[in-house]
């Protein structure tokens, strides 16, 4: 990751091949109450620009929290894929024995 901080905003640059785009979007969504996010591709990077919603927005701390959230969201998506067939099997077993499945 590379970071930069133009006046009153925060820019975080991510390597495209390290993180899924969907994971980055989900991470940005989570902080929508603090900053408006813009995601722009730039070569092999994804540039995320955050503009604080209020003048006293904590941009310094947002950077670390956003980075951690991107990693967590990426891992969540990987686990969801890894366990998808098991999840479907369990839900099928759970609902096949009730009146819910028609």
């Amino acid at each position: 990751m590379e970071t930069g901080s133009p006046a009153n905003s925060l820019t975080v640059s991510l390597a495209k091949d390290l993180y899924e785009l969907e994971a980055v979007k989900l991470a940005a969504y989570r902080f929508a109450n603090e900053a408006a996010a813009t995601l722009e591709p730039s070569g092999d990077r994804l540039v995320c620009t955050f503009t604080p919603l209020s003048a006293n927005g904590d941009m310094a701390s947002l950077e670390g929290r956003f980075r951690n959230e991107v990693i967590d969201q990426d891992l969540r998506r990987r686990i969801a894929r890894e366990t998808e067939s098991t999840r479907n099997l369990i839900l099928a077993m759970a609902f096949s024995k009730t009146g819910l499945s028609g």
């Binding site: 109450n33 969540r76 890894e82 366990t83 099997l89 369990i90 077993m93 759970a94 009730t98």
Partner: protein, 485 residues
């Protein structure tokens, strides 16, 4: 012949790589994460150890490995029944859905002799009879009640002050009981009343038909009377005298009470809990104000924010925990409902904490004018001029009401397991969809959870409950008792 297979047979699965079972994870604090599985079981780990587990690097001889395996977070060659057990727990968790609506709310009048500035139902003055439900409307609503497939039917009388239209309550109870001679459901009745106008005649009827009483008690006399003005300024006296009369007539446990938090309550958490103990209740439900009715118009809802309420809540909760440590059996009911979700496979039927949302599925409401709504909050919103969650009229067919777009659309879009942010939240199985709240506060049934007071409040409570259990085994024992009440 040896009764047992050789030791190797039992160890055959060990050493093989483990597979993750479906799970979510979230920060508990800066150092720890919480893992939750499909059935809502949770496990707390240091962040680094949790990462090792999720990356398939967990030592199979570690205590964490055994705990995670026992709680259905992983499976290996040695756990052949894990999926069956997990499926059974998931089935138990969603079992309530098969029965559909069991709770039916009748607003028999919108009139009330109290004038509470925080009234969320927008009550009308005592003399306005046009806000009473008619017998014809009630009869049609009773027909709808018994169309519900649920073997458990609870009819709850709401207001206004429902006892101001007691003749209609009597009619509904008698007609429903008569109908139930052939329906043979488990039929219960509740009257939600401030008890100010209760009479011996009413109590005798309640005793005959085993009607439970739910009342309001906001705390000590000065606070209660400030929150709940009425002619004479004696709401608290009326409430506590009423509680005593109900207990004498119906039995000790046939009356329960709920409190509502106002700005004046925030510094009084211990006083409020003490009032409930002094009145011999088993617990208290510490409730924030909701964004409906006069509470919005008078700005009482906006008088404190989520963080201020959470400080109040945790002060009250910690005080109650201390009292339990000293031998008092007394609980906080909101915590106990969440703990039931965390520590058992069962789901309490509390509308706010259901997903799919509790609207329609958890409750149907028949308003004084014959309108049918998806929940109590839906009619509160309607009194503010927003009919979004009106399903129709008691004259409509049951199929038309429960198939109404006004019900099915918000149920579908708000389903937490597919809602943005909720879908990947480890606390999703403890939480609810709450489309009416999010519609009221954000104009959207799903709502953006980053801006949601509901999300902020519940996330803090989930973390607060788990942190307390992790910090102290005695608190875990107390919470287990609350979860299995």
């Amino acid at each position: 012949m040896n009764k047992f297979a050789p030791l190797d047979a039992y160890q055959a699965g060990r050493g093989a790589a483990y597979q993750l079972l479906p799970l979510q994870f979230i920060d508990l604090d800066a150092e720890r994460i919480v893992l939750t599985n499909l059935a809502g079981e949770f496990y707390v780990m240091p962040r680094e150890a949790g990462r090792n587990f999720l990356e398939h690097r967990l030592d199979q001889d570690s205590r964490d490995y055994d705990e995670l395996k026992a709680r259905h977070f992983l499976t290996d060659g040695d756990s052949s029944v894990a999926l069956d057990l997990l499926a059974l727990k998931v089935r138990t968790k969603f079992d309530r859905l098969a029965n559909f609506t069991g709770l039916h709310l009748f607003v028999v009048t919108l009139r009330c002799e109290h004038s509470c500035p925080y009234c969320q139902v927008s009550r009308q003055n005592d003399d306005k009879r046009e806000f009473d439900m008619t017998v014809e409307t009630a009869n049609r609503a009773i027909d709808l009640v018994f169309r519900s497939p649920s073997p458990h039917i609870k009819i709850e009388f709401q207001g206004g002050e429902p006892l101001l239209n007691f003749d209609l309550i009597r009619h509904i109870v008698l007609r429903a009981e008569d109908r139930n001679l052939t329906e043979k459901r488990n039929l219960d009745f509740v009257i939600a009343t401030n008890l100010a106008v209760v009479t011996d005649e009413i109590l005798a009827f309640c005793r005959e038909y085993k009607i439970h009483i739910s009342t309001s008690l906001d705390g000590p006399e000065d606070l209660h009377n400030r929150n709940r003005p009425r002619p004479g300024g004696n709401s608290h006296q009326k409430a506590v005298e009423g509680i005593d009369r109900v207990r004498a007539a119906l039995g000790r446990d046939e009356v329960s009470a709920v409190m509502t938090t106002t700005r004046a309550s925030l510094s009084r958490a211990r006083n409020i809990v003490d009032e409930y103990i002094a009145r011999d209740f088993h617990g208290i439900f510490l409730r924030p104000l909701s964004p409906y009715g006069f509470a919005v118009k008078t700005k009482w809802f906006a008088a404190y924010d989520v963080d201020a309420w959470l400080d109040f809540y945790f002060e009250g909760l910690d005080y109650i925990i201390e009292l339990n440590r000293h031998g008092l059996n007394f609980m906080e009911f909101y915590a106990s409902m969440i703990l039931t979700k965390m520590l058992t496979p069962f789901q309490p039927g509390y509308v706010d904490l259901m997903s799919p949302a509790g609207i329609g599925i958890g409750a149907l409401l028949y308003n004084y004018d014959g309108s049918v709504f998806a929940s109590d909050e839906s009619r509160m919103l309607a009194e503010m001029g927003d009919q979004t969650f009106k399903l129709g009229h008691v004259g409509d067919s049951y199929e038309a009401l429960i198939g109404a777009d006004a019900l099915l659309d918000p149920l579908e879009v708000s389903f937490a397991a597919s809602a943005p942010q909720c879908a990947s939240c480890a606390f999703e199985s403890y939480c609810g969809a709450e489309p009416v709240y999010h519609h009221a506060t954000q104009g959207d049934a799903v709502g953006h959870k980053a801006f949601s007071g509901f999300c902020r409040r519940n996330m803090a409570i989930f973390r607060g409950l788990i942190s307390r259990m992790e910090a102290d085994p005695e608190i875990r024992r107390i919470f287990l008792r609350w979860a299995n009440r």
